[in-house]
Point group: C2
Chain length 353, copies 2
Amino acid sequence: MYQGLIKRYREWLPVTEQTPVISLFEGSTPLLPMPRLAAAISPHIALYAKFEGMNPTGSFKDRGMTLAVSHACQEGRTVLMCASTGNTSASAAAYAARAGMQCVVLIPGGKIALGKLSQAIVHGAKVLAIEGNFDEALRLVREICAEFPIALVNSVNPMRLQGQKTVAFEVVDDLGDAPDYHAMPVGNAGNITAAWMGYSEYHAAGKSASMPVMLGFQAAGAAPLVHGKPVLQPETVATAIRIGNPASWQGAVRAKEESGGLIDCVTDAEILEAYAMLPALEGVFAEPACAAPVAGLKKLAAQGFFNKPCSVVVTLTGHGLKDPDTAMQSAASPLVAVAASRDAVLQAMGFCA
Amino acid sequence: MYQGLIKRYREWLPVTEQTPVISLFEGSTPLLPMPRLAAAISPHIALYAKFEGMNPTGSFKDRGMTLAVSHACQEGRTVLMCASTGNTSASAAAYAARAGMQCVVLIPGGKIALGKLSQAIVHGAKVLAIEGNFDEALRLVREICAEFPIALVNSVNPMRLQGQKTVAFEVVDDLGDAPDYHAMPVGNAGNITAAWMGYSEYHAAGKSASMPVMLGFQAAGAAPLVHGKPVLQPETVATAIRIGNPASWQGAVRAKEESGGLIDCVTDAEILEAYAMLPALEGVFAEPACAAPVAGLKKLAAQGFFNKPCSVVVTLTGHGLKDPDTAMQSAASPLVAVAASRDAVLQAMGFCA
């Protein structure tokens, strides 16, 4: 019986027998072959989606949260706090509820996906909308957690990245080795940092023969790592990566450099195009941020990047249900109202009535 | 590497080597211990949630859909059709996309959860809103599929229940035997019919020593099985079980009678109370319909039903992200807007600034 990633990868994680395991049975997400999407990108790639939307709260954040909250519990904390564009708050609130702890979430004012907000609220978190952006929210959280005995569960908490690194273990365990490339969206940069840590540890221990080239993609309006400097007013439809000053900046640069990879950006128009391709071609509904690496792979392929057969894993960080509004706005085919009769339905289907 | 329920339970399913497997790696959902929720219900129960919201499209419907669409594909169909209150349409549309098939969905006018509708649309289904209820939509689908070479993928398609029965296999495989009780929401009644089929087959083959008592719960405003006659205008906040004339009526009655169980109903007020308990006590966010069996267990416990130690599995049919609007409306703590300053945040948290 599967019981979550701490139990599965205990020997690779900083836990002891005294650590209470706070788990919603996260991890062990599907690695789905994506043949139609691959064909639309490049004839050379064998493409797999690591669908992190299938974690309990619908995003990869649960991997780090199980470890961060278990540790906070072990340390006797009773209150958690985080800044979030949505996914972290949903995960923190859920794991806090599971542990019987309180949770305070600071979210930036303005764009936050409806689904994510509803999660933090139903799990009983106190949600404070700050008149400022993510970076300001995180600064406030750090200040308050330094002053009070509150567990900070943003990815500046090293337990978060420790849990998130397990995604690399699972990919290697499923494929039998590392893929040639691993592409993912880059916002706060914890994900690419953690995945590279996981690949590095597994490789050092002889669990994989190779390491992937890491490909990170930001949104053009929120691309500090591409421009080499923070973005004061980040803007993008992909709310999960609307971050101007990533907490794991150095980790992302290290992942790029050590793997011989790159961090590039794609426009919102490219993101929305890729966002529509995934569910229509493969039946997988991921949140807008997940479309950034898909759009990025298309962009690289058009530049001749994939010129021989290779395996590519793309992390789909969150479920599309997190953001139904963007889905409805982007939809090509709207809802059609018809009378409850055979002829009316056949006509609407384009069949002769 | 896990590759979905047809591969896992192939010998128990009506598939051949010629059946193309159309899968999104559904099934093998978590069986989560729910100690806090159990304590709030009865001192005698060991409670587990079978969290079917962790299927790829966020509901248990994916179990039946992988089999129904694989069969439709084998038979050379290129168009799928279904009537749906939401979850079936989301699943049908996703598996149609995965198979490269067209999908037509008839939904009843009025209440449909936003998340579910967004799924059908992003997966490219043609969604027709019928000026009528679910039962009228299903009647039209049956009429049209009988006339044209279109695969009907509602649960009147026997492949649907064949796939759905695997939930019982997984529960037995995880627990080592059947639980004492299995509680679930009852709408179109396919789920309780299929689960009982699965328990019966596993037991007959010696895979379990016992069989569970089946406990089905309808919403008071949509309780045809409780009243023993169809409900013409079913109404409930739990849109997934807003059905007045269940397709699997006989199967539900059989499950109840053969297992010595019951089918009861709970009010919308009881549903909304239980709906709020799950995410707040256990960190699990399920759609409103899932709260019906939780409320039902509370009701039975208050009547002295559980008077000795027993194991209870409750099926949580879909993810709460399917219906963010109901979540926001039901939320006790609304969003609080605060200035981006330490003092303002501390004050909002209830800490001295």
